[in-house]
Symmetry: C2
Subunit: 435 residues, 2 copies
Amino acid sequence: MTYSIVELIRTKRDGGSLPPDAVRWIISEYTADRIPDYQLSALLMAIVFNGMTQDELDPWTDAMLHSGEVLELSDVAMPLVGKHSTGGVGDKISIPLVPIVASCGVAVPMISGRGLGHTGGTLDKLESIRGFTTAIHPSEFAAQLNDIGAVMAGQTETLVPADRRIYALRDATGTVPSIPLISSSIMSKKLAEDLDGLLLDVKVGSGAFMKTIEDATTLAKTMVAIGASHGTSVTAILTDMSQPLGRAVGNANEIAEAVEILRGRGPEDVRELTIRFAAEMLVLAGLSDMDAATARAVDAVESGAALEVFLRLTERQGGDPAVVEDTSLLPKATEEHVLVAPRSGVVSRCDAYQIGIASVRLGAGRAKKENHIDPAVGFLIEAKIGDEIERGDPLVRIAYNDEQKCSAALEALSQAWEIGEEPARVGPLILGGIQ
Amino acid sequence: MTYSIVELIRTKRDGGSLPPDAVRWIISEYTADRIPDYQLSALLMAIVFNGMTQDELDPWTDAMLHSGEVLELSDVAMPLVGKHSTGGVGDKISIPLVPIVASCGVAVPMISGRGLGHTGGTLDKLESIRGFTTAIHPSEFAAQLNDIGAVMAGQTETLVPADRRIYALRDATGTVPSIPLISSSIMSKKLAEDLDGLLLDVKVGSGAFMKTIEDATTLAKTMVAIGASHGTSVTAILTDMSQPLGRAVGNANEIAEAVEILRGRGPEDVRELTIRFAAEMLVLAGLSDMDAATARAVDAVESGAALEVFLRLTERQGGDPAVVEDTSLLPKATEEHVLVAPRSGVVSRCDAYQIGIASVRLGAGRAKKENHIDPAVGFLIEAKIGDEIERGDPLVRIAYNDEQKCSAALEALSQAWEIGEEPARVGPLILGGIQ
């Protein structure tokens, strides 16, 4: 059937719903260059204002998902469960999480992104391990999953090309912040991983894209519903991103912190989320109930099985396992600067967004896609919300290679901390769950 | 100064205002092909939703107006007053109006459009006079205005090119219905006519683009305010377009009706609006007060001075004045069909929109810009709102050349009339004025 794109734009503009077949037609015509960018961008802006119903969003996502190849993982003997985080600062959870889950007998075909804006990216962090490559061809996924139980790769050209094109257009036309468009972008890519189950970490707070619990809840519900209509079990957990996760913000230093978690050490918040997420993924795989799954995840760390999987994964993907064994071999910056507390009191704010912006200025992140990052630089946060500190105590240690970049980072960091007199209210790390 | 178009789109999307210099930058960059269509269309859609403030609209209109040449009419000895109608069905007012006003010593540099969709166009009507050309080069305007007091011409490539491009983009992206965008499109073209005063006929009702008095009032006020900020006196009159104006809907037959008006005859509603508008234009020119201006306009018809100007104008623009002298020489259709009343009663609806759609189907109008029209075909309306009729009385006489087109027109016409039992409320023709 053929539609008039102008009529469909008008319908969406006037608050109407598009028929499912019309939605599929739009995606396939756009992908085939038969709808020009200027018409799609007008439609996208109308969607920013008027949203999409679930009956529009399901075929929109499905059509994107089928715009290219889909991972063919039917040969993998284990259940397949994926994980996606909407992005934050210091969010290295995937790195210890994937080996833990894989060591429990669940395959994780993990396709991640790079850092952009104030948020970091798993690929950049992994590449700070000497030799590690994330350019894994989709045809190699099944074999590696059967051998090791996990792949940690980057996007390829062949998976969900419609999303790449539409995202680039959204980026250039001010049409990024739309919950249905964000949902379909994420879910089309994750569902192309041919999963049995999917865990979504929906971050909320200054360092997240969703600043309020209401928006995060809507996003989570929207993505869970898309999964349901596609026949994939999805669990969404809302987690706090008002302050960075853990102590390390950067790339090499986040790998070191992730390895600490795999050794049963490291910051409490990172450990808590990692174990919770691992347990949720084992439940999604149908392996056990939450209590037993939690025990299995803890045991995977304590027994060293998870670290062993990470070592094998690193080696399989060209990385040097010696760096994982001894994280002092990771790239190191030459200089350190310590930002200290200007007064005594209790930390009431340790702002993830400002720290994320500072990390871009330091060279640990990217303002634009084409920027290069320096894996060695980063922050070690010494004071988080609720900590009692004395004047002169360190707030953050800055590992840097370039004086000017350090100064630029300090400008943002100086706005990140607030020190009060009252005991600060420390909010929960896990804010809710949606299934 | 250089701006980021994506930032400007985001500002408008989020309900903010664009600085005047940014607005001028957008129009000049787009016209120079340095902003792509896909970014402008996203901005236009954001404007459809969030509107524009007067402080945005004034520079937007001014930048469009200066995107090309502006008429240079300082050599014209008389005051210059223009007129624009937002478009309707059977709206031939400009044709008798321009000669009346010109015969009273006010120059009218009239640039009109063609029919599109359910509305007719002055150019198409004039071209049903054998030889009449509306392709007058802007450089000839001043001389013709000094000689005859009037020019009736079509758009040229050199005047307001930004409007042509932006309108084409709006048409393809569902961003036409926006009061600020409509206002700036109309006003940029009229202000490029170098006028001392401008009369706007803002039509309201089923056959108009503005369906409600509220929307029409907003449009009128917006355009009057743009005129004020440009230093041009503008009067807007809101007039009824729930039923067609006069009896004739078509092209040649509307010229015949217009000539009737110039002879002091013709339908009362057409005469009433023509005289009122002529008087308003004389007042805008500063010639006299409303009462004296009305008397002068009536006298211009009764003395034959106005008809004389129309004859001279026709001759100057290559048309055959014999056709104006004897309108039976206008193109005539070969066939006639009469649609009759299915019952007796009082006409309560004679729907301008349905009759406009029927005229397109008959071949008197255009569904698309590239369609050709047949000047000879059209309707003569025999029953209007408030008329008492008997079953079998004619509602409309259809002059046609093509049986199939007549049938297609009849389908729309059959939905145009409603005949009730009660005396119908006949609303006023003039609904308000804004200065």
